[in-house]
């Protein structure tokens, strides 16, 4: 479990950071004007989260100081690709933070960063899309990993802006939709697993038997309800509602990731 925990933390934090960057980039470049101070602080937060993710990930190696050797199999290994793309993502976040001044620069650097982030998430998902663990060997892995970017990521940005700018950007429609998709994915995953190989069926059993699974469903449902409520009320929400929302999705996605590893029954 200790070993898997480092992977849980890495994948969760890295995906959240990628999602947060994408969100910040879109707001910054295409939607609303945010103060440079807020942008930089948010970007540094994203970098910090990414750095923590990297440090934690190294600890799951038997030989952390030989981690550089993990770059040697780019041609075949999705793990190598992940290890190449995530630092590239971080590097471009850094460039974006300090060197993107004009809108054109922001667009070029921002899009590059988003692409590297997306490729990172894709690579991570592909590491686990393997026949030896039937529960992972389908599209739900990719969907789950992208949802971790798309749900807690933007809400993190929303929270940061709420704290820094003392105003709440209205994400309610987006959050409601994505939370609904996240809820839906649970149902899809369970039904996919149940119709799969015996090991996948066993995974489905482990999943639904776990109290963590139901806590995850409950927190997602609460997030959906909260965002939906403000959507109907046409209100942006306060710092405390955004904080609540963030707490809910963090718990949901983190538990989801723990479950992902703990219910992955090997052939």
């Amino acid at each position: 479990m200790e070993h898997a925990m480092t992977l849980v933390i890495f994948t969760f934090l890295s995906q959240m950071a990628i999602g947060a960057f994408a969100c910040l980039f879109f707001i910054d470049t295409y939607k609303e004007k945010i103060s440079e101070r807020s942008t930089v602080i948010s970007l540094i937060t994203i970098l910090a989260i990414s750095a923590v993710a990297v440090v934690v990930s190294v600890f799951h190696l038997g030989h952390p100081f030989a981690a550089y050797r993990a770059l040697l199999n780019f041609g075949a290994s999705w793990l190598t690709r992940e290890i190449v793309f995530f630092p590239l993502f971080m590097f471009f976040v850094l460039l974006y933070t300090f060197f993107a001044k004009t809108k054109a620069q922001k667009q070029i650097l921002g899009w590059t960063t988003v692409v590297f982030g997306a490729v990172t998430i894709f690579s991570t998902a592909m590491i686990y899309t393997i026949p030896s663990v039937p529960a992972w060997n389908n599209g739900t892995t990719l969907a789950a990993f992208f949802l971790t970017a798309l749900l807690p990521g933007p809400i993190l940005v929303q929270l940061l802006l709420a704290l820094l700018e003392k105003r709440t950007v209205n994400f309610n429609l987006y959050t409601t939709v994505v939370a609904f998709l996240a809820l839906l994915l649970n149902g899809v995953t369970v039904s996919v697993l149940k119709s799969g190989l015996p090991a996948a069926v066993e995974s489905a059993g482990l999943l639904t038997a776990s109290p963590l699974f139901w806590i995850k469903i409950a927190t997602l449902a609460a997030a959906f309800a909260l965002a939906g409520y403000f959507l109907l009320k046409k209100k942006a929400g306060t710092v405390s509602t955004v904080t609540t929302l963030f707490a809910l999705v963090i718990v949901a996605e983190f538990l989801g990731r723990i479950l992902f590893y703990s219910s992955g029954v090997h052939l």
Binding site: H60, G62, I130
Partner: protein
Amino acid sequence: MAKKQKRYAFLINLERCIGCNACTVSCKSFYDLHPSINRRFVRETSELLTGTPKRNYISTSCNHCDRPACATACPTGAYIKLDNGIVKHNQDRCIGCRMCATACPYGVPQFDPVKKKMDKCDMCVDRLEAGEQPICVVSCPLEAIAIVDLNEIDESQVVADLPGFADSSITGSSTRFILPKGTTVVRGGIKSWNTL
């Protein structure tokens, strides 16, 4: 004409295997492995493999697959598929990330808690090159393990799949099995049964 390249593979004779684990222990001893590391695994397989219930075992090690999942998963390229069919793990390169263990459908690579690296069977490649048989082959008291050339054997006499053994087509497992023969079972009715 050049001689065709050999494709080495393990051939396990289930009719002979008695599940004794002599292969596991002799290998552990010969290679001075950490006690938690087994390069061979002996498992019970279905009692009903041949119809009537009886004790059946499979002894497997690394299956030296045609499309090794370990090699694809490994970020350091520590696994190489040699021309002779053997999948060799280069421990000097290994960083102990354990992705190979996750990716292998057979759970073959194991984490050595002292070396903090992965460990697996290399079919005693050094011995093979020196013209000797692997340790498990020469140790098995029932001579149930053999090394064969997949180019030479009659595939109709062997199988690649068994209950309790992951689908060989996923990674192209090279291990082949000779199935056990059926045993005629006579079990008398026992009268005292109903009074238990």
